[in-house]
Each structure stands twice: as C-alpha cells, then as structure tokens.
C-alpha cells in the first residue's frame, strides 16, 4: 500500500482503537465493555492491514471476534450486574492505577521515540502468506510445536480447573459455599 493509503488507514484506526480500548474500562454495562474490546482489537487488525501484513491483519480479525464473544459470554455469566443498570462502580483506586499507566506510557513512549531504530527500509513488500508458511514450517517449526502444545495443556488444564468438583473431584456441597473454618 502506498504511503498515503497507509496513513489514511493507520491514523483513524489507531485513534479508534485507543478510544474504544479506554472506554472498555469506563463503561458501566459489561456486555458493552466486551464488545468495545472486540472493536478495539478488531480495529487493531485493520492497523495490521495498513502496515501491509495482510495475513496477520485478517487472522487478527478472525481470532478476536471469537475470543471476545466468549469473553462477553463469561462476563454476563459471572458478573452481579451485567446490564450495568444498577450503576455499580466496579473499580478500585482508579487514581493510582491511572498514575501508573501514565508513567508506563511516558517511559515506553520515551524509549520508542528516543532510540534510533535501524533505518526505515522502504520495500512495501511485506512477507506474504507463502513466506510466512515456509517460515512456520521451516525455521520456527520447533517453537510453533511448543506453542501448539501450550494451547493443548491450557485447554486440558482449564477444563480440569473448571470441572464440577475441581481437580480432585470433591464436589462442593450444593447450596452453601465452604465456610471460613474450612469445614466443607
């Protein structure tokens, strides 16, 4: 994509991505928070597209929609007031976390701008899907095997953790949660 096209796509999507990302944590309704996150990471896919890595951008669009829908699903299941109708404040010490965030932003921004990165190589030909394929199957085959195994372990571990009765198969007595003394 020409420089102008990149700029035309990059700036608005980057702006929308940051704004929706911020509103994820300021909105009351949990369903809206999940879908704002979906919008934020989905538009990040557009940013990838504008930076001329077509395969990664489309993959990001595909992955994020599935993941965020699951997140909204869990949010509505596990939150006391998913609709945000009660106006509950689900945050604590916003002031300090905002300060920490600003500090992190300043630090990383300084690093980003101050250091002189290697010269901007203008070729425009980002690695297309074929090169990425050979890369995945060639040099980084081992790492991708580990990545695949990690996902498998995460799935099995996740199911074991979430299973009724937990890892050891001791079903929590239905009705009352275990009280503080630890007697089930």
């Amino acid at each position: 994509m020409s420089d102008l096209a990149t700029a035309l796509v990059f700036w608005p999507s980057a702006a929308i991505m940051l704004v929706t990302g911020l509103y994820v944590f300021r909105t009351r309704s949990m369903a809206r928070a999940g879908l704002l996150l979906l919008a934020s990471l989905g538009i990040e896919g557009l940013v990838f597209l504008s930076l001329a890595s077509e395969f990664l951008g489309v993959l990001q669009l595909l992955m994020m929609s599935g993941e965020m829908v699951i997140m909204v699903f869990f949010m509505v299941m596990f939150m006391a007031d998913p609709g945000g109708l009660m106006g509950m404040d689900m945050t604590h010490d916003k002031r300090r976390s905002a300060a920490v965030a600003a500090g992190v932003a300043a630090a990383l921004g300084a690093v980003a701008v101050a250091t002189d990165w290697p010269g901007t190589v203008v070729t425009g030909a980002a690695p297309d899907i074929e090169q990425i394929g050979f890369e995945v199957m060639g040099r980084s085959m081992l790492s991708f095997l580990f990545a695949g195994m990690t996902i498998l372990f995460a799935m099995v571990g996740g199911i074991l953790l979430a299973k009724h009765g937990g890892r050891l198969g001791i079903p929590a007595p239905a009705g009352e949660p275990r009280d503080e003394e630890g007697a089930p």
């Binding site: 299941m77 006391a80 007031d81 998913p82 609709g83 109708l85 009660m86 509950m88 009724h164 009765g165 079903p171 929590a172 239905a174 009705g175």
Partner: protein
C-alpha cells in the same frame, strides 16, 4: 398447491380457534406474526371477551402505522365489540408514552439478582448458581393458545419454575363449538356423531399444525394444514373425506417418525395412576393407558365399530400419537355415520376433542392446566414449550357452575 404470499398479522384468537370457528386464516391471506412489531394487521373477532381486551389493546399499540383491523368472523360469540375495545383503550391511553409493556409476552427485563456481590440461589445442573430470568407468555403469545397465560422462570435456558393459568371465563368453549352444542342437546343422534367426529378431526389437525409450527417443522405443518383445509367446510356432505384422510395419514406417520419422537419422547410424563388420581380425561388420560372414553358407552358408536385409542407411555409423544390416530379414526367414523341411519338416542355426555363435555363443563380440564406447569420443570426452553403444547390445554377456565 401454490398459495398467495401470506402477510404476518396479529391473530386474535390464535389460528387453532379460528379454524374451529370455520375460518381458514391462511386462505384469508394471513399468518401469525412473531411479535406485534412484525405485523401491520390485527386480524380479530367481531366480539372479544373482556379478559382479552387489555392485551389486544396493548398489542394494537405495538403494531406500527400503517396498520388496520381485519374482522374475520365471530368465534367467541360473546363479549364487547372489538373496534369499541380498541377505541376505548386508545382514548383512555392517548397520553401514555410508547413504552414497552405488551400484554403479549410482556417480558420485562427481569434479571433480578440477590446480594450485590454474591449471586445466591440453588445451583443449576452443572453446580453453578446463575440468576433466574422470569418470562411471562401473555394471553396472545404465538406459543400458547389464546387466553392461556404461563409465567416461567428460566435458569439459563432451562425452565426452573412454571405456572399456567387459563384466563377466559367458561361461557361457550370456542375451541369445540359443535361438541358443546351436541352436549347441550341441540343435535339428534346421526347428525350429532358426524358433527362431533368431524370437529374432533379438525381440532386434532389444527393442534398438529400449531405443534409443528412450534417445533419449526414446515413439512408437518403443511400436511396438517392440508387436512384442516379439507375438513373446514360448511355442510358435512361437501367435505373431501379421502383428501382429509390422506393428509391425516401422512401426518400420523410423521408424528410416529424418529424426528418427532426424538423431540417429544420421555417429556412431561403422566402415568396411569397419576391420571386416575387427578381425574384427567380425554387424549391426555388415554395416552397414559386410562382407556376411559365417553363414546364407548354410546350404542350408536358401537354400531359403527368404535374402540378407544390408547397408549401406555403417557409422554408428549404418546399424546401426539393418540390425537393423530383419533383424527384418522374420526374421519372414518364420520363418513360411516353419514351413510348409516342410527338410533336417535339423546346423550347428556359427549366426548369432545379434549375430553367428555357434561352439563357445559369438561371435567379434568382444570386439573390438566394445573398439572402441565409442574411437568415442564427441568426442560430446555423449546422442549418445555413443545411439552406444554402436547397437553392441548383449553384456555377456558372451568368456573364451578
């Protein structure tokens, strides 16, 4: 056969009641709309019972402009005129803003939850405690006969509790007009058998069509619709008996098919002892193995070679099979009764489509309404509605008279 494209309309009462009043709604070019918002026509009766007036008024407000009223017939034959009910409601609520409280399935956003941080309540099947959402299927809901109100509370999509109420006062059972007339002694024997049997076939066919629409099975709905079209005729002589029997035969085979059984077998089971204890009657009792049928004591029926249709399982599938088989048998009985000359005995009890009708009341109807709610607990939403429909409950609350 190719028919004109149908227009979604709010049907008051539902398609089954119109069919029993001899009006084929699809021929009039309408079909039941999912919600008033999706319709632009209110297809109503000339006179409407007072209990339905407020619900119809609310549904009318939800229909968007350009909207019109279409009067198809007079199934209730009692109550206040429809146009007056709409005008009176419109005038009284002219100032009200357009908020969302449709009498029809008014499902307020009732996600109530107890303690703010801790969600209490008994755990559902997989041991997780979820918030209950309550749904009220109003008197005009497309999933229930008009006049029946069901209040359900849902745990996820599983029914946690359900209560069903019949809201229409018992004047004349609009769902079985000819059987009602026969029971109150207006018809003589030969004519009575033909009228009652044809009405039974028509009622079961219309019920089959509504159940098929609930299950989302257009094939069965079309076959049952063809049977209804064949049976809806003024004079008994002009009815195409073989067309009706063929459509009902195909419907019966579809009801006994694996697809239908997999959705209804083993659901809302009523055993024989329970049916006898509650005094249930009609197809519900016969499907549980209680062979009690008012027609078996009638000499005229014995002449025609009638024996009651019974099943043992007592679940939704058995009830559907009993009704399908009874419909086919009813068409044969009616055709034979037309030819034969029968003793003119006057009967005080007539077996209507939902049970015997004696002195203007159907014993066992109120018990069935009370029982149905409890039996659908624990079923998933669509299975619960299909099981509720399998009882073919009558919305006429039987007031002690």
């Amino acid at each position: 056969m190719v028919v004109r494209p149908l227009r979604p309309a709010v049907l008051v009462p539902d398609e089954q009641a119109w069919t029993m009043a001899g009006v084929d709604v699809q021929a009039a070019g309408f079909e039941a709309a999912a919600t008033p918002a999706a319709a632009s026509v209110l297809a109503g009766p000339e006179r409407i019972p007072e209990e339905l007036a407020s619900a119809v008024g609310e549904a009318w407000e939800l229909i968007c402009e350009p909207r019109r009223v279409e009067v198809l017939g007079d199934p209730f034959a009692a109550g206040m005129p429809l146009l007056e009910a709409l005008k009176e409601r419109h005038g009284e609520h002219a100032g009200m803003d357009h908020d969302e409280h449709a009498g029809m399935g008014h499902d307020h956003a009732g996600m109530d939850h107890g303690d703010m941080m801790e969600i209490t309540g008994e755990p559902s099947r997989d041991g997780l405690v979820m918030e209950a959402a309550d749904v009220a299927l109003g008197p005009l809901s497309p999933a229930l006969p008009t006049g029946l109100v069901a209040e359900l509370s849902l745990d996820g999509d599983v029914v946690a509790s359900c209560r069903v109420r019949a809201t229409l006062e018992a004047r004349r059972d609009a769902l079985a007009p000819r059987a009602w007339a026969a029971a109150t002694g207006d018809l003589i024997a030969g004519e009575r058998i033909v009228a009652v049997e044809l009405e039974r076939a028509l009622s079961h066919a219309a019920w089959l069509r509504r159940s098929a629409q609930l299950l989302g099975w257009p094939l069965l709905a079309d076959r049952a619709g063809q049977a209804v079209a064949a049976l809806v005729a003024e004079a008994p002589e002009s009815i195409a008996f073989d067309a009706a029997r063929c459509a009902l035969e195909v419907s019966r085979r579809l009801v006994e098919s694996r697809a239908f059984r997999s959705r209804t077998a083993g659901r809302a089971v009523v055993d024989a002892a329970g049916a006898r204890a509650l005094g249930l009657t009609g197809p519900i009792a016969r499907a549980s193995g209680v062979p009690e049928d008012a027609r078996s004591q009638d000499a005229a029926y014995a002449g025609l070679g009638f024996e009651p249709v019974t099943r043992e399982a007592g679940d939704a599938a058995a009830r559907a099979e009993v009704r399908a088989e009874e419909a086919v048998a009813a068409v044969d009985l009616a055709q034979e009764a037309l030819g034969a000359d029968l003793p003119a005995a006057r009967r005080s009890t007539v077996e209507g489509p939902r049970g015997p009708i004696r002195h203007g009341t159907t014993p066992g109807a109120a018990e069935a309404v009370a029982l149905a709610g409890g039996l659908v607990i624990g079923l998933e939403w669509s299975a619960a509605l299909a099981a509720l429909a399998s009882f073919d409950l009558s919305p006429w609350s039987v007031s002690a008279r």
